[in-house]
């Protein structure tokens, strides 16, 4: 992860095996989906309600 890995950046990247790519892709999606699975926090529902309710007082 440190200096050794960083040096490799300049080397020509080897083609990744399909299985390695698939595994990395699964980890990426699992991490992302963990956040997606949290749904919509209240603050965003509240925000839209507030904006919607301000319809008549819109000063812009």
């Amino acid at each position: 992860m440190e200096a050794a890995a960083r040096k490799k950046t300049n080397a020509k990247p080897a083609k990744l095996g399909r299985e390695v790519q698939a595994r990395l892709g699964q980890q990426l999606r699992a991490m992302y989906d963990e956040v997606v699975g949290q749904g919509v926090p209240d603050r965003f529902n509240d925000l839209l309600n507030r904006l919607d309710g301000n319809g008549n007082k819109d000063r812009q």
Binding site: M1, A5, K8, T9, P13, A14, L16, G17, E19, V20, Q21, A22, R23, L24, G25, Q26, Q27, L28, R29, A30, M31, Y32, D33, E34, V35, V36, G37, Q38, G39, V40, P41, R43, F44, N45, L47, L48, L51, D52, N54, G55, D58, Q60
Partner: protein, 181 residues
């Protein structure tokens, strides 16, 4: 500003994915939520410029991404090098990003150049096509493809993974579980 019901639905429907993208950009849940909120405010203030029938989610991602680029990166550069700071943020607050289990992966992801990271997330996690990702990032399709390829290669290097056997038993189990969709 009365909000059309269909707009409201589409916007709220995009929030979970926008948050996941924002967290991947800035590495901090609280800042990510602020970023999403600012994105929604901008989007609703400019809802007339949204073309009905086009992808609302992609439109919101574009706004979020551009806003992040113009505001947050500028602000952060004043403090210190952005990618280094991002990595530090993740290391000091692993619990904010989610559970500890993807720690090694997250740390590797944090070390990618930000343009590679965002391309990888948009294509590999958000589910956008290369064309949509190129539109969101304002670059050519070929550029997105090469960023995604470089990101994958670099991730494998950082995690020292060269073949499927290099994933530890835990990772293998997780991969199987995660792949059950």
């Amino acid at each position: 500003m009365p909000i059309d019901e269909s707009v409201r639905k589409a916007v709220l429907g995009a929030v979970p994915s926008l948050r996941a993208f924002a967290i991947s950009l800035c590495g901090n849940v609280d800042r990510a939520d602020d970023l999403v909120q600012e994105t929604l405010l901008r989007a609703l203030a400019n809802i007339d410029s949204f073309q009905p029938g086009t992808n609302m989610s992609a439109w919101l991602f574009t706004i979020l991404r551009n806003h992040f680029r113009s505001e947050y990166r500028k602000r952060r550069r004043e403090v210190e090098d952005s990618d280094g700071h991002y990595a530090d943020t993740l290391k000091s607050q692993p619990e904010q990003y989610g559970q500890v289990e993807f720690r090694e992966f997250r740390e590797a992801l944090a070390q990618l150049p930000s343009d590679q990271r965002e391309a990888l997330i948009l294509v590999g996690a958000s589910g956008f096509s290369y064309e949509e990702a190129a539109n969101i990032c304002g670059c050519a399709v070929g550029t997105i493809k090469s960023r995604v390829n470089r990101a994958r290669t670099r991730l494998a290097e950082l995690m020292n993974v060269h073949s499927a056997e290099d994933f530890g038993p835990d990772e293998q189990t997780r991969a199987v579980l995660a792949g059950g969709e």
